[in-house]
């Protein structure tokens, strides 16, 4: 498994549904383009707004949401430390965003079975960035501007311009889960003593 040496450059928002459908669990990608940040609070607020008949503050068609709450930038920096947060907290909201045509999400950690099922057959990819590598990942973010829910502070929705942002595809349209695939060969125990 030397995916990382063969990382593919991909533009986001994804150029077509086919580009997303062609992604496979385990693919290492270097993403460049524009993506939006949102965590639990922002997801909840977006869906509550929709229920009231309001428009979403971000485009979703083939777009990518990054689950991150960055540290404040020092003067002269675009953003501070900006690694992924744990994705399962967004599980209750993700299927609805997939329905609306969202192209992908970046976080870390396992997704619920319902989310993996919601991804199957759709043009959506769940991708993981290296959790805790916030200083390094922040460097791939060239511009950051708050575009909605400023009162949420670190959890506000930001528009990020990124360059060669490294991720690994975890859950793909075929229903594969790369964590399962990657761990299996190294498992020596069923769980304890």
């Amino acid at each position: 498994m030397s995916q990382t040496e063969h990382a593919r450059s991909i533009r986001i928002p994804f150029e077509s549904s086919q580009v997303i459908r062609d992604l496979r669990a385990g693919d290492a990608l270097l993403l460049s383009g524009v993506m939006y940040t949102a965590r639990d609070a922002a997801h909840q607020r977006m869906l509550q707004g929709l229920e009231r008949g309001e428009e979403l503050p971000i485009p979703v068609e083939r777009e990518v949401i990054y689950y991150v709450g960055p540290t404040p930038p020092r003067p002269g920096q675009a953003i501070g430390s900006a690694g992924p947060t744990t994705a399962y907290r967004m599980d209750p909201y993700t299927p609805q965003f997939i329905e609306m045509g969202l192209g992908g999400a970046i976080g870390k950690g396992y997704r619920a079975a319902e989310v993996r099922e919601a991804i199957r057959g759709r043009a959506f990819a769940y991708m993981a960035a290296i959790g805790g590598a916030g200083a390094l990942l922040g460097r791939c973010i060239k511009e950051a501007s708050v575009i909605a829910y400023e009162d949420l502070g670190t959890e506000a929705i930001r528009r990020l311009v990124i360059e060669d942002f490294p991720v690994i595809v975890i859950n793909d349209t075929l229903g594969s889960d790369f964590y399962e695939v990657a761990q299996e060969p190294w498992r020596r125990t069923g769980g304890g003593g």
């Binding site: 540290t71 744990t86 950690g109 396992y110 959790g131 916030g134 390094l136």
Partner: protein, 280 residues
């Protein structure tokens, strides 16, 4: 009676927050370097390489190692002959956190209330554990505890019949379930014995111990060694991408317990193991 002024306490806490936010301790860096040498999975090795690069970059640029700068957990060992002057000790600690997080451009993650979820804006309050000890010194140990790993922590009131095998099973299951959610390689702090609350306190105390330092009780040290092997057989590996280094260390703290009980707690610590300590 020796006096310590609250200003000295606030400034020590502030400095420790800023320094811990951008630099892992040496024992932790060495553990990651060893993990890089030991790991056999190429993807796992790659993940550790990135973490080492991230550590170097954070220290060089002053950008926090992780965006989750954590809850400030403080263990204060107050000498019974030490007199804190100029104000309240807890307030001094919180003032230190407030200043340190602002000066270090660190993220405020603490909420006023778990239900209304409004951010306090300055990462206070800290979670403070006090212990009164002999002597006239004030020892302050701090860790910046990330939420992702904290969320994967668990406690169980096992039956005495479950015995050491039950303890091992519970620890390994907790580590396996935590998987990539908790940002491995991990340091699961293990609290064994006491009561329901004491076991979780012990687990937190365990993660304060430097990597490589065994429990002084040889039998518990043996269990620590065995648990490290078992945890690393889960296959989770660095970042959950598969491999043989899921945990860097498995420290256990022990306390006597009730005849009916076998409490065990596992407080998961991620690789952003950011500790500092000072004696005033």
């Amino acid at each position: 009676m020796r006096e310590v002024h609250v200003d000295a306490i606030a400034s020590a806490i502030s400095e420790m927050c800023q320094s811990a936010g951008v630099a892992l301790t040496d024992d932790m860096l060495q553990a990651l370097e060893k993990a890089y040498r030991d790991e056999q999975s190429p993807l796992g090795r790659h993940a550790i390489r990135i973490l080492l690069d991230n550590a170097r970059l954070a220290t060089a640029t002053g950008v926090p190692y992780c965006q989750d700068c954590g809850v400030a957990i403080v263990f204060a060992r107050v000498g019974q002959d030490c007199h804190v002057v100029g104000g309240a000790l807890s307030e001094a600690i919180n003032e230190g956190v407030r200043c340190g997080f602002a000066a270090g451009y660190m993220r405020a993650s603490m909420l006023q209330s778990p239900l209304d979820r409004r951010n306090t804006g300055d990462n206070t309050p800290a979670v403070i554990h006090y212990d009164v000890v002999p002597g006239d010194r004030l020892e302050l140990a701090i860790t910046l505890k990330g939420g992702g790993s904290e969320n994967m922590s668990r406690q169980a009131m096992l039956k005495p019949a479950d015995g050491v095998e039950g303890v091992k099973r519970f620890v390994v299951e907790t580590v396996a379930n935590a998987g990539p959610n908790a940002c491995p390689p991990l340091v699961p702090g293990i609290g064994l014995g006491g009561t329901f609350d004491k076991s979780t306190y012990l687990a937190k105390k365990a993660i304060m111990r430097p990597i490589g330092e065994f429990n002084p009780d040889p039998a518990i040290a043996e269990l620590e060694k065995e648990l490290l092997v078992l945890c690393n057989e889960t296959g989770v590996g660095p970042q959950g991408l598969g491999g043989i280094v899921t945990c860097l260390w498995t420290p256990i703290e022990v306390y006597p317990c009730h005849v009916t009980a076998l409490p065990v707690a596992v407080n998961i610590q991620c690789h952003a193991n950011r500790r500092r300590e000072v004696i005033l």
